[in-house]
């Protein structure tokens, strides 16, 4: 059984809500199956916060073993590097995280805030916050790039705002059950970050034939005009449906790239920057010349049912 301690730093509780939404495995089944023992979770534990203080002390002194440290929320260093914008019992949370992470077998940054800084790190970054081992897309955050947890892993980044429910509980299960955790260049588990949001999007055919929406509320592709980052964002949103139901792009909401280190992008989130007719940022790995040639052909080849936007949303 793996012991797990969950800390909230500069968080909105969105990842905690996502954790509670996971259905397979659910948190309660991980507990019931004997995979996870929750030493502390701020929304679930019944003990007063003095219990957390005791746990921190014991873990720090090496008197109690910690297998998995989960951190939710951006790591706040303000004001002036003291971290006191976010404290627990007069001690900056960043110091507590640093102390606990040094004792943990594995450290999970749950959500883009803990992984990369997230929304609070967007300009002007009023709290001087960062991610645990990344600052947006720059390697090195609260920890430098060489930092490793006791099991030899860097901070495992579960990107997402919030993280997909199954990405949280499956990662916990992988660690608890001793399964291998392979990471990508941003230290995200490849098991959940091995495809683009674009894959599995029900609006794909509109993209193939370059049938573009210019207004929200429509049925067609949102990549060309409405800021959708589905073709450039690694995430499982369209293969592991959210809440077992849908995904943002299926519902007509552009993908804002929330699993990526640079979320949220600077500038208008609902507008696609273009050079002429072609987006500045193309789908991953596509060359501009080929794309321009393909785009015109595709538009000409679009069948009426697609041009008329008669497909289901």
């Amino acid at each position: 059984m793996a012991t797990m301690l969950w800390l909230q730093t500069g968080a909105c509780s969105g990842d905690t809500m996502s954790l509670l939404n996971a259905h397979g495995p659910s948190l309660e089944s991980l507990v019931a199956n004997g995979d996870i023992q929750v030493l502390w979770h701020p929304s679930i534990s019944t003990e007063p916060t003095s219990h957390l203080a005791k746990l921190i002390e014991q873990i720090e002194k090496g008197e109690r073993e910690l297998d998995i440290l989960c951190v939710e929320g951006s790591l706040i260093t303000g004001p002036y590097g003291t971290g006191m914008f976010d404290s627990f019992r007069g001690r900056a949370k960043i110091d507590i995280v640093r102390a606990l992470a040094g004792q943990a077998q594995a450290v999970l940054a749950v959500g883009s805030c803990a992984a990369f800084g997230g929304i609070p790190a967007a300009p002007p970054n009023p709290t001087d916050c960062t991610g645990m081992q990344f600052t947006r897309d720059t390697a090195g955050g609260m920890f430098d790039t060489a930092w490793r947890s006791k099991s030899g892993m860097p901070v495992i980044n579960l990107g997402g705002c919030p993280t997909h429910p199954l990405t949280i509980t499956r990662t916990l299960a992988m660690l608890a059950q001793g399964l291998p955790v392979e990471l990508d260049a941003h230290n995200r588990p490849t098991a959940f970050f091995n495809q683009m949001v674009h894959q599995g999007c029900t609006r794909n055919e509109y993209h193939e034939y370059d049938v573009e929406d210019t207004e929200l509320g429509g049925r067609a592709c949102m990549f060309f005009n409405l800021g959708c980052q589905g073709p450039t964002t690694m995430a499982n949103c369209n293969s592991e449906l959210w809440n077992q139901r849908s995904s943002k792009t299926r519902a007509g909401v552009p993908c804002f790239g929330c699993t990526s280190p640079n979320f949220p992008k600077n500038g208008d989130l609902f507008r696609t920057e273009k050079m002429g007719e072609v987006p500045v940022t193309l789908p991953l790995g596509v060359s501009r010349g080929h794309y321009m040639a393909y785009k015109n052909l595709a538009q000409a080849a679009a069948p009426m049912r697609v041009r008329d936007k008669k497909m289901d949303t």
Binding site: S13, T49, E215, D268
Partner: protein
């Protein structure tokens, strides 16, 4: 008598809260509600495109992101009276109701109920039954509540793609229309939740339960064999046995901006709130309701760590300039919102009082505001909303061929002042936005928890939570469970009291 200052240990609070009380003997003589986190969300919005607020404000709070999204859409629409079709208003209502019921269920059974298992109550006759029902992650009611709450937010996922944190409400409507399948799927989800509520929570049909309209009838009903051992029966019998219905009143002014928009009546040009459950300010002394007037809202900073200004300011005039001075009589990063210079309570109790729920009104008249009633109102509100969701689904089925989105006229989001209100899970939420030349120049958010958890204002009036514990006698200073009950009955959510910043732990004696 010598004063002793103690810090109250609380967890299961969304965000970081320190609650400090001064005791005289065993009685609370003064109270200070302090947050320990600053995230600066309002500052992130300055200079951004107006619609970006639809992506950023839901992230203020992972629990009530739908409420923030809805409020942002309303504020942007009001800037230049952007029309919104009934189809969209119904979908927005349904999603907000799903989010609120989810929150009510989780708050009650995951956050409030565990305190009923406090060691203080170990010898109580109901202790074994409470343990069986409410043990965290294991109790029968807790497990089924988790299941039904995660099912309910599937409604948001159907229309918005995911919960939490999505951006499907946009000025002029929603991003996708409802389909026949959606109606069937949503009905199935609501019906499942209703069946759960009937079986686990009340032990009666929703109609019977909602028809209870007097304190007397309710108290007889809850003692009947079919109802006494349900979740509500256990909670009510135990809480009342422990006297939770006799303390924790706080202010007697209750604020609701009105809950859920009337899809037909809510039309541009936007004037007064037109909602399915009426809003207003309910006076607990006279039992009269006055109309809600947004212009009467001000925020004070006299006891907050902000650059001082005299009296209060309307959010359109508001400023948020940090001025941290720990060794002064200022003690919180929350501002103190006031309505017509009055301290008000907001939340499900206020929502049902102004909305005219006969049972809640009668209980208030008989017993006054109290800790049990506040928590009871939350469960009552969940059932009122489940009933309303069925009605909204019926209305939605009539809108399938009508537009879900009307593109706003060119330039209508480029300049203007707008504001909006919704009834979030924890009470009245307001956003105020000012846009100049296509950029946000000011964004102010007044959250439900800011109303309830505010510090003292310019006139020295305590915030509502503070008032609700002052005068309270504690049985055991080392285990002040009474304070936990009172504070938690407000469903504390500090993450969305967006101004907060850190304060060190202090224990002072003999002050």
């Amino acid at each position: 008598m010598a004063r002793k200052t103690v810090n109250i240990e609380l967890n299961r609070v969304e965000g970081d809260l320190e609650f400090q009380v001064d005791l005289e003997g065993d009685r609370v003589a003064d109270a200070r509600c302090i947050g320990t986190l600053f995230r600066g969300f309002e500052q992130l919005l300055i200079g951004r495109a107006p619609k970006d607020a639809l992506v950023i404000t839901p992230r203020v709070c992972g629990i009530c992101g739908t409420a923030h999204l809805f409020t942002t859409a309303l504020a942007l629409e009001r800037m230049n009276d952007v029309p919104v079709p009934a189809h969209a208003t119904i979908i927005r209502n349904l999603c907000l109701m799903a989010e609120n019921v989810q929150s009510d269920i989780r708050q009650t059974f995951l956050f409030f109920a565990p305190d009923l298992l406090n060691p203080r109550y170990a010898d109580h006759a109901l202790a074994p039954a409470l343990e069986k029902a409410f043990k965290p992650l294991q109790g029968s009611v807790v497990l089924s509540a988790l299941d039904v709450s995660r099912t309910l937010v599937e409604i948001v996922a159907i229309f918005g793609g995911q919960w939490p944190h999505s951006t499907y409400m946009i000025p002029g409507g929603v991003t996708r229309p409802a389909t026949v399948s959606d109606i069937i799927d949503c009905r199935e989800i609501v019906d499942k939740a209703v069946r759960w509520f009937e079986k686990e929570v009340v032990g009666d049909s929703l109609d019977n339960w909602l028809s209870l309209d007097t304190a007397e009838r309710f108290l007889e009903w809850v003692d009947e064999p079919a109802h006494r051992d349900t979740a509500l029966g256990l909670f009510t019998r135990f809480a009342r046995d422990q006297g939770l219905h006799t303390y924790g009143a706080g202010t007697d002014q209750f604020l609701s901006a009105g809950a859920h928009y009337d899809p037909v009546e809510w039309q541009a040009p936007y004037g007064e709130q037109r909602t399915l459950l009426a809003g207003g300010v309910y006076d607990g002394a006279t039992h009269k309701i006055e109309a809600f007037r947004p212009e009467l809202i001000t925020e004070h900073v006299r006891h907050s760590w902000y650059r001082p200004y005299p009296d209060g300011r309307h959010p359109f005039e508001g400023e948020t300039v940090p001025d941290y001075q720990p060794e002064s009589d200022r003690y919180s990063w929350a501002k103190a919102p006031r309505y017509d210079d009055r301290v008000v309570e907001t939340g499900p109790l206020a929502e049902l009082l102004t909305g005219g729920d006969a049972l809640i009104v009668d209980l208030l008249k008989k017993e006054g505001a109290n800790t049990w009633l506040r928590q009871f109102a939350r469960l009552r509100r969940a059932s009122v909303l489940l009933d309303l969701m069925r009605a909204q689904l019926k209305a939605l089925s009539q809108e399938l061929n009508n537009p879900h989105y009307l593109a706003p006229a060119d330039g209508s989001l480029d300049d203007g002042d707008g504001f909006g209100f919704v009834q979030a899970a924890r009470g009245t939420l307001g956003h105020w936005v000012q846009v100049r030349n296509g950029e946000i120049t000011r964004y102010q958010i007044v959250t439900p928890t800011a109303w309830n958890a505010s510090p003292k204002d310019s006139a020295g009036r305590h915030g509502h939570w503070e008032q609700s514990v002052i005068g309270l006698p504690l049985t055991d200073i080392d285990n002040p469970i009474e304070i936990s009950h009172v504070v938690r009955s407000h469903d504390p959510c500090l993450v969305c009291t967006v101004h907060f910043v850190g304060a060190g732990k202090k224990v002072r004696y003999g002050v």
